[in-house]
Subunit: 467 residues, 2 copies
């Protein structure tokens, strides 16, 4: 056990079970999550109360120990990586759902509650958090706040910021900031808790939150549909969004190569799809009854087929088949089995620019090296694309910057972002400095200096202070 | 013409028509809007370009002249009041709708565009800004951003923050901050533009914005319904919100005294209402066709009437009658005709606390003075109540604080806010200090010191710096 853990245990003994501490001996046997360096600090504090969390932050301030906030460790950009000498501050023991108010449609939760647990608790009241992600099983409310999580439903309900009504957090000065309003309307002076949303732990450690819930249709119908390009996928999406009695629950586009390789890896039959379909759209509708959802989906697709607007399609005949459809899209690990260390990206562009962006990207990659290509897939209705580049030289350190430039050049000018929902962390540091908004960066640094003058929280990450 | 205007004209001559300046001679003949002190500064700069606005801010910084940002002057709390020696910076000439993208469902606008103009432009594409306010004719996008406007549809679409995708603003240092992203998903480092939303001009002057638009049902049906209390109104609201093929467009509750006096003032027949109905709910549904909207409304009300869940109701037979229903709720000037200078409030509480809150308020007011009562009305589905206190001693300066305490005590503990949508301005300064969130205040002041060290923007308003 490290000296740091020993000192913490001694100095914060008063908290007893409300503060569990773990040294390298324990953490060695823990899974580090999505980044191998997440647990490198070898020292973790797991408060079970906001007060214990605040005491840890004050202790770190007094001892000059940097803090790395951690949630479910599902982040894909290294925002939770830690280094020896730092202390990990984890929400692992802040896992209570304190209240669900079905009338107000709110949930009051601790930051370590996972999305899946919250979804189940809300579903018992016919409600949903309004956000869904592939990593729902381990992503936590705190982490989703820290990255302003997006996911599958952002086109309909917005991103995490739009679901957050209240936040409690420990600020870098060790004070407990509590703004746990439970109402939609608060115009009571600057809403500074917004800074804690999407800042990846730079300004504090979120301990609790009040989240808005949405109504939830119980029954679903799911289909895969061949489409000719993103624009035609958006037409299909628009058609189903306009239907009165159903809700669109997912509109995930997989460009050909992604879909083909994913299907091949899973032994998924693609005989229903026109052989040259350039992309496949996963559609999910919900309604009050299964029949309504299914009828709306089937009728809609039949009309589109008639109009030759789609290149084949298949409606899931069972929940199990629907799950297999989703697995094609969500279980994207095959990419790294086929192309280890393939560089991956997460951009957003306005929907009308999707096809142009993808065409430009492909020609840029081909110009870099003949065999370079990209898997392209994502949340089509909000213009969020995930990209993984593979082929000759894709993982060559010498070509890394050129590939990044191919992906990011012009995205901001289109009104999009170099990081849609994954955050910046370590992996997107160069992009943040080269392609991020300079005005945003400058103000973020000024606020960092004001709120965390000793750079205690997640140093070396956004907003990347010089000191 | 004042010396200030003369100097500005000379020093910023290069901008020509892009910068119109007005002195006291001109402003004397202008209507000051909702607060008599709005134009007291007697000096106004009306830039027609963001660059001209930035030049004015730099000029003010160099000359130590404080700036009061102004939009449509519809604010009810004095957030736009100005004093001699200050310069008003107005969005009056920033009135271009630059683009509407129907596929992305976004509007790019200058800050001086009024809500009504934007609504009309969006409606041409079957879309809506997703926010609606009684002051739609003069309220501007910039002002709605500055106060994080709420209004009629917040229960469904959220508040102004949820519609803002991008912002361009002049910061206190005179730099043009441009973060005009057009996409829902941006997780690209701290989203500092959020600070410009709801801070009433403390951190900058918004010049342009990208707003999210929502789909819009073209046809509507409107009713007035007698209800027994807020809880029963919420049941009615819940029933109509759950209907699949219609959208709820308004759920405005008027407690008895408000409704009775409003109806009497307008000569509105209330024979359809049970004589002892404690409150009246204005409901509006929309659908693809008028018949669908009307049928859903009539069938729903018939079932509620059958179940004795409502105390009478009337469905508007024409658009004109629907407008008369809305006028009962929105044209609340009668309050001030009947009770000049009646103190008014704007609180939010979780919906389940509404009846308890109103009952407590009435008993507190009665305890203060026998004849004290309150008009109560508001946006019931999000728990936002507007209150005007009248009766013996209501306007007595000696009882002002006691009335405020009666209104505000306990609101924060319920999870609500002392200011739901009107902001703080000058009028709610005492409430901000006595009932606002101290953690929010402290961080807001630290940020003010970092971004506006010379207190150039809207001094004397939130976040009320000491200097």
């Amino acid at each position: 056990m490290s000296e740091m853990i020993r000192s913490l245990r001694r100095d914060l003994n008063e908290f007893g079970d409300a503060l569990v501490l773990a040294g390298a001996d324990v953490l060695e046997s823990c899974h580090p999550g999505e980044h191998p360096d997440n647990l490198r600090a070898g020292a973790m504090a797991m408060p079970a109360t906001p007060e214990a969390a605040a005491a840890v932050v004050r202790w770190c301030g007094a001892h000059g120990v940097a803090i790395v906030p951690q949630g479910g460790l599902t982040g894909l950009v290294g925002g939770a990586t830690s280094r020896p000498g730092e202390l990990i501050l984890s929400t692992a023991r802040l896992t209570r759902i304190e209240a669900i108010d079905p009338l107000a449609r709110t949930a009051t939760v601790e930051a370590g509650v996972t999305l899946e647990v919250l979804q189940a608790a809300a579903a018992a009241h016919g409600l949903t958090p309004g956000i869904d992600l592939a990593s729902r099983g381990s992503a936590t409310v705190g982490g989703m706040i820290a990255t302003n999580a997006g996911g599958i439903l952002a086109f309909r309900n917005g991103v995490m910021r739009h679901q957050v009504l209240g936040i409690e957090a420990v600020l870098p000065d060790g004070g407990l900031f509590s703004d746990m309003t439970e109402v939609m309307k608060v115009s009571a002076g600057p809403d500074v808790k917004q800074l804690l949303i999407g800042s990846e732990g730079a300004y504090g450690f979120v301990t609790r939150a009040v989240l808005k819930l949405e109504s939830r249709n119980p029954m679903r119908a799911t289909a895969l549909v061949g489409v000719r390009h993103a624009a035609s996928a958006l037409e299909v999406v628009g058609r189903f969004r306009a239907l009165p009695a159903v809700q669109l629950e997912g509109a995930e586009l997989m460009w050909r190569r992604f879909f083909a390789d994913s299907a091949a890896q899973r032994g998924f039959d693609t005989g229903w799809l026109e052989a040259d379909a350039p992309a496949v759209l996963l559609l999910e509708l919900s309604a009050a009854s299964e029949e309504e959802a299914r009828t709306a989906l089937e009728d809609g697709l039949a009309a589109l087929w008639e109009a030759e607007a789609i290149a084949g399609g298949i409606v899931a005949a069972s929940l199990d088949q629907a799950r297999r459809f989703w697995a094609l899209r969500e279980e994207s690990d095959f990419i790294y089995r086929l192309h280890p260390a393939a560089p991956s990206f997460d951009v957003s562009v306005p929907p009308g620019s999707l096809d142009g962006y993808v065409a430009t990207l492909r020609s840029r990659l081909a110009a870099l090296a003949g065999g370079l290509d990209a898997y392209v897939y994502g949340h089509i209705a909000d213009g969020n694309l995930h990209l993984s580049v593979f082929g000759e030289g894709a993982t060559d350190p010498a070509s890394r910057d050129a590939i990044e430039d191919a992906v990011y050049d012009g995205v901001a000018a289109l009104g999009g972002s170099f990081s849609a929902e994954h955050g910046v962390g370590l992996e997107k540091r160069r992009a943040y400095l080269a392609y991020g908004n300079p005005a945003r960066r400058a103000v973020a640094q000024a606020i960092k200096a004001a709120l965390d003058p000793n750079n205690l929280f997640n140093p070396g990450k956004v907003p990347y202070r010089a000191n």
